[in-house]
Each structure stands twice: as structure tokens, then as C-alpha cells.
Amino acid sequence: MSRFWPLIRLVPRQTHFDFVSLAPYAAVLSALAIVGASLSFVVQGMNFGVDFVGGTVMEVSTPGPAPLGPIRADLARLEAHDAQVQIFGNPNSARVQFRSVQGKDANAGAVFVASQLTSQFPGLKVSGQSTVGAKVSGELVWKGVFALGTALLLMLLYIWFRFQLQFGLGAILALFHDIALTIGLLCVTQIEVSMTSIAALLTVIGYSMNEKVISFDRLRENLRKFKRTPLREVINLSENERLSRTIITGTTALLALSGALFMGGPALFPLVFTMAFGIFIGTYSSIYVALPVILLWGVRRDDEEARPIGPQPARP
């Protein structure tokens, strides 16, 4: 302990957890989670917002508690398809969403519903509105898929460039694992999937990759230090060495997001919730997906060619 400050220690100075021995159980757990995510994806599906399916979403505010039932009934009267009405943030606000209005194009439908609602419910105000036409929403779907694909590819290339190919494949498998589970989370919670969700997924990929790089760095260093030690033990050693950092950083990140998660309001919640989940899952998959893959595959040892092409880490 320090003479300067009563430092909190989340983990003892030296730990000797056998991370690798838990890997088979983790593999089963991950497999089950992925099966669950796939099931939810098939059964429940993703709750795509107007960004991806087109239509209109408007936030309305009312003087008193928002009359959700009557608004729903009114939307049915107006022949608005796939209408959803929910509380938005506080009881005096509601979120009204619909795909289209019978016999009207996207914009005319939005204008029509807005004017009908404001005249039917005195004091109701439309405080925000988004209308996305079918053409644009179709394009956004492809742009989103393309963005995720490009991200994965570039990450693979970067890891391949900085480490060995085995590391890159471990990382990519872990990323697929993370994306599958995050998508599963979106399906299970039925959080609306919007353009921001793609940003959230990309952030999850970025953070998860960050974790993998830190983990690989330490592993690579120890592989050089202990050339005769079995890979399994080197992995355990590396993970124990960086355990303190893993926990402190993960906690910091989650604490940092906590404000946005609880106080950020309904607009920020889906993004931050997905990011918080990503921090969790990214940390887990570094230890229990990426490293086991590397362990199973094996790495080239005492092969100087395997050293990175990029800048060498400084030696003392």
C-alpha cells in the first residue's frame, strides 16, 4: 500500500487465475448465447426504425399525461399502417410512429397525421419529426451493412499487419461473436434499430478491438520473453498481468457511461445501452474467444519472421 494515498485495489498485486481452464465452459456459454441470439433474431427480429424501413416518427407533447389510447385510436381512424404510440421520456410526451398512411406518400401522410393530431387533441404539439422515404431507407440498410463489413475487414487487415495472422483471425471471430450477441441484445430488448445503432455497433467493434490489441500486445511480449513456456501458460500469465488494467478500464468506461445511461434521456439511451453492453462483451470475448482461438490454432514461436512489420516496441 502506498504511503501517499489509501489506494483502492480492485485486484491483488499478483493473481494466478487459470483463465484458460475456464475456456471450455465459456465456449459452451458463448455458443448458447449465440444460439439464443439467433433464435431471437429469427423469432422476434430486429425492431427497425424509420431510418431503415421508411415512414414517420414524431415526438409529441401534451399539456397533461399523453392520451396514448385515444392517439392510437385516432391513428387507426386515419388508416396509418404499423402505428406505434409510446411514452417518450416523460408522461407528457409520446412517440408516434407509423409506416404510411393509406393512399398518401410518405410526406403527405406525415403532414396529414400531424395536422389531424393537433386538431383532435387540443394543446398537443409536434416537437420533433422524421420522415424517411422508401428509397433513402433502402439505401441506408445497404450503407449500414457495408459499413460493418468494411470495419471488420479493416480490423482484420490491421491486426494481421501488426501481429500474426492467427491473432487476426482470433480477433475477427471474437468480433463476430460480439456483433452477434449485440444484435441478439437488440432483438431481445426490441430496442429500435436506427442509424445511431450502426454507430453503436461500430463503437462496439472499435472498443472490442481495442481490448484485443492490448491483450495481444502483452501476449506477444511474453511469448518472446518465455520462449519455452507452453502457450497455455503464457496466455494465463499475460491475462493475469493485465487483469488489474482490464478491470480498472472496464469499470471506468462503464462508470463514465452511467450518467448518459440513466440521465441521458430517451434519445441517448439506445446508443449508450448498446455501448455499455459492448464494453462488457468486448472484454469477455478478448479473454474467452480471441485467446482460445489462438490457443487452439497455435502460434509460430521462435520465428523471428513473426515479428511485426511495423514499429518495434522499445526495448529497455
Binding site: R3, K125, T131, A151, T203, T252, P316
Partner: protein, 527 residues
């Protein structure tokens, strides 16, 4: 690495001053700072300050259709004036086809059309091709490059006209940009009534003056039996449901030089206009020849009024009466003045955030940021004591540099961007965590305080850079992918990655270096 070189200190001090100086305008009320100080504030996105976003697509199909209709009318007029009889004139796909009744005149008709249709191109030749087909047919079509050029030109002109119209509305700092081939993005901060915007942008405002064909009997009109050179137009004038008018327009909106809201002799709202030279001449000519006959004033294919010509109008000025309110007369004048859109604009995407909703978002964002920062500070100081305070100082400089850079470049801060900022703080702290954990390891391995600190920085640096490159990659992809809020997120994240590597590594290094010099410690406070 801990050696306190002069450039390091200058760099750290300089960046701290930069951050403070350019963040300051965001912290104090406007007008407090002296004139030499920077005054650019954060550029808040539409989701934070309220406003409207419209994605418009120029309807190039309608443009092509209109060009083909005009070509058809040209063929009709040319053949008629050369007294060549024809049948089956019409548009087939992208081709205007006509059958010449007399086989002997096909050659003459071909020559006539080939030499006079369309416009001369800069590259030589004309923008219309004319071919003779089987069975005395002649086919004319636009050269494809000319059609593309017409479409491109229509988009550019549309942007200019949209800009003029929105500027005339008095919206503050609207942004009007081209996207892709045929799309226009309009962003109007503070304009939270999308209907007002759409009313101004949505109208083509194509104005024509066409003679009413009084020779068509009402029963023929009702049965749709109208001569080919005429057209039936619906009317909004309140007198007749529709009029039969000559297809050929006498004057068009392009010949207007000015328009303004006005009143007629009965003190009813009206639109006053004046013609340019060509319009004045044409209008004088037609009104002189047609005294006593009505003509129709047509806006976007609907008759707004059909006054009778009482006397020749030679001055080039006039008023349009109709069923106007003061406001609608003013709006129409505005539209006429800024010119007609070459093609209709379709609204493909529209997003509006009311000012109140924006203010709520700002409040929520600020609270989130404050809680996030407080949590990080508390945790990092608890975990690393004095070094935690150093990391917190670095974090403050980091955030101020991000805010400064965003204010300076006027990059847009959006609500997701605030989440990006929070995440950036966490990732910045991670760099310090990596460094400090390394120091602990090195100290535990038996190195002296100084050596452990020095090695900690040295060893952690590659990991930090590697890890941040991955974040940068995902930010750059987001930037490519997203619009509006997502772009704001990506931008904040990218700036944050750059500044956080700098502050987490260099600022803490200088602080720890200073501390070593002053306190001359025997052990690390985190060991």
C-alpha cells in the same frame, strides 16, 4: 522518457493554453470577451439546437418528360409552319415519333427537322438526333450526353433557386449542399416548422401566360374534345373549374425581372410583376392583337386567374389577381422572384427537431457528461492517488482541447457526439491506466521509481497507439457511412482519439516529471 525537455513543456503549456482560449467562448456569455479573443462557439447539431433537415431529389424523370413534351410541340409547330401534313405524333419511350402523310414530303420534313430542332452543341452538331424510319416515320430523340448535361444543369440550378428562396425566408445560416448526383441536402438550424420550408421548396413555381381558347364549345370541353394544340387546365380562380388554353405560352416566368406583394384596384391582395425587355415586347404584341379576349395565368399547371385583356399592355408591368391572402401573395411573389425550379423536387427524407426538444437534449447531454466526468475523476483518483490527479488534469486538458478544436473547426456537436465525448474520456483514461499498470509491474520487478516510471511510458506507448488506431478506423468508417448525428459522433470520436493520446501520454509525463524533480521520491505512489 521522463526527461523534461523544453519542447515538451512548451508543447504541453501551449496546448493547454490553446484548449482554454478556444473553449472560453463556450463558457462565458456572449459579448464579455475582448474583441481579440476567439469567439467561435461549438456548432450544435440540429438535434441539439432544433431545426430542419431535408433531403430533396431532383425529379429528373419529370424533367425528361417535359423536354420530350416540348420537343413534340416543336415538331408540331415546325411541320405546321412548313405546311407538311402529319399524323401519329407522340412520345414513345425516349423518342418523339411522327408519320408524314405524303411520302413525297418525308425528305423535306427530315431536312427541316434535322436543321432546326434542338440547340447547337459546343462540340458541333445538335443535341437532337433525327432519323427516318419505316412507313414514312420520322423519329427524333435527345443525344444522351445532352440529356445528362440537362439533368446535371437542372440540379445545379435547383440548388441556386432553393438557396435564393430559403435566404428570402430569413432563416439563419441555412446550409444547402449537393449530395450524390441528383440530391440536395437542406439544413436550416432554428427552423422547426418543416411545412414552411416545404411550402417554399416544394413548389416548382413555373409561371406561364397562355391564351384561353374561347372557340372550344363548353360541351366539347366537358367531353374532352379539344384541339391538339390546346390543353385543359384545372383552375383555382373560383369562376370556372377548368379552362381550355393554347399549349404555347405567350410569356413565361423566366421573363420576369421582379415581383412583389401588392393590392389590386379593389384593395384585394395581388402580386405585382415586371417583365424584362423580351417579355415586355412579347406581352405588348399579344395584348395589342387580342383586346377583349381572356388569357390564363398558369402556375404549376393550374390556372390562378384568367383576366380579359382590356387594353394593350406595353409598359411591361402588371398585377396578377387571384384568390390570394396577403401572405400567399407575398409567398408567390417570393417564389416568382427566385425563379422556377427546372424540375420538381421530391422530399426523400425530412427530420425536424423542435427547439424545446433540442434544449432538453442539451440538458440531458450536459448532465450525462458531468456525471461521466465526475465518476471518472473519482475512480481514477481513488485508484491511483496523486498519479490519478495527474491523469484527471490531463483529462481536463483533453476535453478542453476537443471542445476547442470543435469550436475552431466549427465541426458539429450532436447528441450522439456527446456520447462519443464520454467514451473518448474513458479511452483516454485507459491510456493512463496502461501506463500506470506498467509502472507498477516494473516497480514490482525491482526497478527504482524513476526507472519504473520511465519504462512504464516507454512500454505502454505501442499498445496505446495500436489500440487507438482501431478506434480511429471505426470512427472513419462511421464518418463515411452516417449523416448528421452519426457524422457528429464520428467527428468527436476522431478528434478525441488524437487529443487523448497526446494528453494521456505527454501531459501526465510532464506532470510526473515535474513531480520527480520537486519531490525526489524514493518509491512510486502507486506501487
Amino acid at each position: 522518457m521522463l526527461a523534461l525537455t523544453r519542447w515538451k513543456i512548451i508543447l504541453v503549456l501551449g496546448s493547454a493554453i490553446f484548449g482554454l482560449l478556444f473553449t472560453l467562448p463556450n463558457l462565458v456569455p456572449e459579448g464579455v470577451l475582448p474583441s481579440w479573443a476567439p469567439h467561435q462557439r461549438l456548432n450544435l447539431g440540429l438535434d441539439l439546437q432544433g431545426g430542419s433537415y431535408l433531403l430533396l431529389e431532383v425529379d429528373t424523370k419529370a424533367l425528361t418528360k417535359e423536354r420530350l413534351t416540348n420537343l413534340t410541340e416543336d415538331v408540331r409547330t415546325k411541320l405546321k409552319s412548313a405546311q407538311i401534313d402529319f399524323t401519329e405524333l407522340g412520345v414513345q419511350g425516349a423518342v418523339v415519333s411522327v408519320r408524314i402523310t405524303d411520302p413525297g414530303q418525308v425528305r423535306a420534313a427530315y431536312g427541316l427537322l434535322n436543321n432546326s430542332l434542338g440547340e447547337r452543341l459546343l462540340t458541333g452538331g445538335r443535341d437532337v438526333t433525327v432519323r427516318t424510319g419505316a412507313d414514312q416515320h420520322i423519329q427524333t430523340a435527345f443525344v444522351s450526353t445532352a440529356s445528362d448535361a440537362a439533368a446535371a444543369d437542372a440540379v445545379s440550378r435547383s440548388i441556386e433557386i432553393v438557396r435564393k428562396r430559403i435566404d428570402a425566408m430569413g432563416t439563419k445560416e441555412p446550409s444547402i449542399t449537393r449530395q450524390g448526383v441528383d440530391r440536395i441536402v437542406v439544413e436550416a438550424p432554428g427552423e422547426s416548422d418543416p411545412e414552411k420550408l416545404r411550402a417554399v421548396i416544394g413548389k416548382t413555381a413555373k409561371l406561364t401566360f397562355q391564351m384561353v381558347d374561347s372557340d372550344v364549345a363548353p360541351q366539347d370541353m366537358a367531353a374532352g374534345r379539344i384541339p391538339p394544340e390546346d390543353q385543359l387546365l384545372a383552375s383555382d380562380d373560383g369562376f370556372a373549374p377548368a379552362y381550355v388554353v393554347k399549349r404555347r405560352s405567350v410569356v413565361t416566368g423566366e421573363m420576369l425581372t421582379n415581383a412583389s406583394g401588392s393590392t389590386d384596384e379593389n384593395n384585394q391582395p395581388a402580386v405585382a410583376f415586371s417583365f424584362n425587355g423580351q417579355g415586355t415586347r412579347r406581352f405588348a404584341e399579344v395584348t395589342t392583337q387580342n383586346i377583349g379576349k381572356p388569357f390564363a395565368i398558369v402556375l404549376d399547371g393550374r390556372v390562378i386567374s384568367a383576366p380579359r385583356i382590356n387594353s394593350a399592355i406595353t409598359g411591361g408591368n402588371g398585377i396578377i389577381t387571384g384568390r390570394f391572402t396577403v401572405e400567399s401573395a407575398h409567398d408567390l411573389a417570393l417564389l416568382l422572384k427566385s425563379g422556377a425550379l427546372p424540375a420538381p423536387l421530391n422530399v426523400e427524407e425530412q427530420r425536424t427537431v423542435g427547439a424545446e426538444l433540442g434544449a432538453d437534449a442539451v440538458r440531458a447531454g450536459a448532465i450525462s457528461l458531468a456525471i461521466g466526468a465526475a465518476a471518472i475523476f473519482a475512480f481514477i483518483i481513488l485508484a491511483y492517488g496523486l498519479f490519478g490527479i495527474f491523469a484527471a488534469v490531463a483529462l481536463v486538458i483533453n476535453v478542453s482541447m476537443i471542445v476547442a478544436a470543435m469550436s475552431l473547426t466549427q465541426a458539429t456537436l450532436t447528441l450522439p457526439g456527446i456520447a462519443g465525448l464520454i467514451l473518448t474520456m474513458a479511452v483516454a483514461v485507459d491510456a493512463n491506466v496502461l501506463i500506470y499498470e506498467r509502472m507498477r509491474d516494473e516497480a514490482n520487478a525491482g526497478r527504482s521509481a524513476m526507472a519504473a516510471a520511465d519504462t512504464g511510458y516507454r512500454r505502454a506507448l505501442t499498445s496505446i497507439i495500436d489500440a487507438n488506431v482501431t478506434t480511429m478506423i471505426s470512427a472513419l468508417i462511421m464518418f463515411q457511412f452516417g449523416a448528421g448525428p452519426v457524422k457528429g459522433f464520428a467527428w468527436t470520436l476522431s478528434i478525441g482519439v488524437l487529443t487523448s493520446v497526446f494528453t494521456a501520454v505527454l501531459v501526465t509525463q510532464v506532470l510526473i516529471g515535474l513531480w520527480f524533480r520537486i519531490a525526489r521520491p524514493k518509491a512510486l505512489p502507486i506501487a
